[in-house]
């Protein structure tokens, strides 16, 4: 039984088509990686699922409930959390307040302020700081914690390693299984193909808005993915 199903999704920005017949299946408690070069449509795919793209064709369902056409806040209430590209924390809110904002849909589940503090103890310590005073890695933890606070069935993570030191990225990736242990699924958009293959159970590679490679992450070697990246047929 899949959690999220995306079927033959086409997305448009005005007359420009950003996604062509993209399909995706996500099972509960799994990590799916979406990779591809800049401009391949990875962010558009996440935005489309989260309700941020107006012009869409095709079907998006979460636990068999259609999501396409719903407002972003309604989609969050249905159980999809978002860790946006560039984190997009609220600058006039403290760390604690940023987390509490995620709690506003009042969905029931294992995640509350204490659970997020257990996952990222530093956020408890720095709770009364403004989010802008934190280091990049800590800000990313706030962004992830804020999404967790909505108690989602699925979290969309857009480039969580962007601009962070490699050791910090390792630390954050090491914590992801603690999130999926509860049955929460993750879709991660990642530039680092090696990391994506290591941490994900399934991988989809996008090129110019089309899926060029899709399947279990351990079925593909780095070289095969690299070949797909550069447009050559996978060996």
């Amino acid at each position: 039984m899949s959690l999220l199903q995306v079927e033959r999704l086409n997305a448009f920005y005005g007359d420009f088509q950003a996604l062509f017949d993209v399909s995706l299946d996500v099972a509960p408690g799994t990590i799916s990686a979406v990779i591809g070069p800049n401009g391949a449509g990875k962010t558009t795919l996440l935005r489309a699922i989260a309700g941020g793209v107006r012009k869409l064709d095709g079907a998006i369902t979460l636990k068999s409930e259609p999501l396409r056409g719903l407002a972003p806040e309604a989609i969050t209430r249905k159980g999809i959390g978002l860790v946006p590209e560039g984190r997009r924390l609220f600058p006039s809110l403290t760390v604690r307040e940023n987390l509490l904002i995620g709690g506003s849909p009042k969905r029931s589940g294992p995640w509350d302020l204490n659970a997020v503090h257990d996952l990222f103890p530093i956020l408890k310590e720095r709770g009364h700081h403004m989010s802008t005073e934190l280091s990049g890695g800590q800000q990313q933890m706030v962004a992830i914690g804020r999404a967790l606070m909505t108690n989602p069935d699925l979290i969309l993570c857009d480039e969580i390693s962007l601009g962070l030191a490699p050791t910090i990225v390792e630390d954050i990736y090491a914590l992801l299984p603690k999130i999926t242990d509860n049955g929460t699924a993750l879709i991660i958009v990642e530039q680092d193909v090696g990391r994506a293959l290591r941490s994900a159970t399934r991988v989809s590679c996008l090129m110019e808005g089309r899926v060029v490679l899709q399947g279990p992450a351990d079925a593909y070697s780095f070289d095969e993915v690299a070949a797909a990246y550069f447009g050559a047929p996978a060996a």
Binding site: A50, A71, P72, E73, L93, I101, S104, P105
Partner: protein, 290 residues
């Protein structure tokens, strides 16, 4: 010396009223980034609502001070949900045009119902009574009441913005409206509440104005100008800034008026210009907001 003290006291008392004029404008601009050109007329609508409750229905001033803001808040919520939510977006022109249209509609509807006669809510002895602060320094009791209401309202707004879940949602929405939606904040409702709160403030300001001076359906424009000056002086989007801006504008007018009664309004505008040139962000500029 006592004369100076008297001027200062008068300026601060009317400054409280000016802060009340500005509070609603500041909320709507701060949360929705919407410049409400009908704001002055909404204060006057609040004044007429208060007049109907206090005088026409004979329930008196204090009933009006409670009922008019509640009615106005209700109107504000639905005005936002049914009309203004449809026009806010990346383009700032549509909301300007719509609120300008609203301003015309409110003025003309009030003219139709209440005619152009000037009205006032009479409060009897309180209006002429005064309190002796020091030998030779006195302040009108009503001025003190207005000042107390202004400080209480601004303080309450500050607490709402900083301590409550809805205040948090207000600030998050103002920071980044799109991300707020992705965190599950129902922005149409949040915007409705913000405008509702703003119009409640207009209701309070309107009822207090209706005792302070007489008003007609066309009195709104002058109040809009004052409200704008107050929030620019105090710092756009800052709640406490409206109180400081109100005091400064009131003081400038009181000082100007003491030099020559004709200078009263001019002194206020000059103070506004000086602040705009020297501190374009206002006295409590960003960083001190809410």
């Amino acid at each position: 010396m006592t004369e100076l003290m008297n001027i200062a006291v008068q300026g601060i008392a009317i400054g409280g009223l000016y802060a009340l004029f500005a509070a609603g404008l500041s909320i709507v601009f701060g949360v929705l980034r919407l410049v409400n050109l009908a704001h002055g007329d909404m204060i006057i609508l609040g004044a007429f609502t208060g007049y109907v409750v206090a005088v026409s229905a004979g329930m008196g001033f204090f009933a009006a001070l409670v009922i008019a803001p509640i009615l106005m808040g209700f109107v504000g919520y639905w005005l936002q949900r049914l009309l203004l939510n449809r026009v806010i977006g990346k383009d700032i022109l549509p909301p300007l045009l719509v609120t300008f249209g609203l301003s015309m509609m409110i003025q003309n509807a009030l003219l139709l119902v209440f005619t152009a006669d000037s009205r006032k809510i009479a409060l009897g002895e309180i209006e002429v009574a005064s309190v002796q602060l020091a030998p030779g320094v006195a302040v009108g009791s009503y001025g003190l009441i207005v000042l107390a209401v202004a400080v209480a309202l601004i303080g309450a707004l500050h607490l709402i913005f900083t301590r409550t879940a809805i205040g948090r949602a207000f600030r998050a929405t103002a920071d980044d409206f799109e991300t707020a939606r992705h965190m599950g904040i129902p922005t149409p409702h949040v915007f409705g509440l913000a405008t509702g709160l703003a119009l409640m403030a207009c209701g309070i300001a309107g009822v207090l104005l209706a005792v302070w001076t007489s008003f007609t359906p066309l009195s709104g424009t002058a109040r809009l100008l004052i409200a704008f000056e107050v929030i620019v002086i105090g710092g756009i989007g800052s709640i406490w800034g409206t109180l400081i801006g109100g005091f400064l504008l009131g003081l400038a007018q009181a000082i100007g008026g003491a030099i020559n009664p004709e200078f009263q309004m001019l002194a206020g505008h000059l103070a506004f210009l000086v602040i705009l040139v020297l501190m374009p962000g206002g006295i409590l500029a960003k960083g001190a907001r809410a």
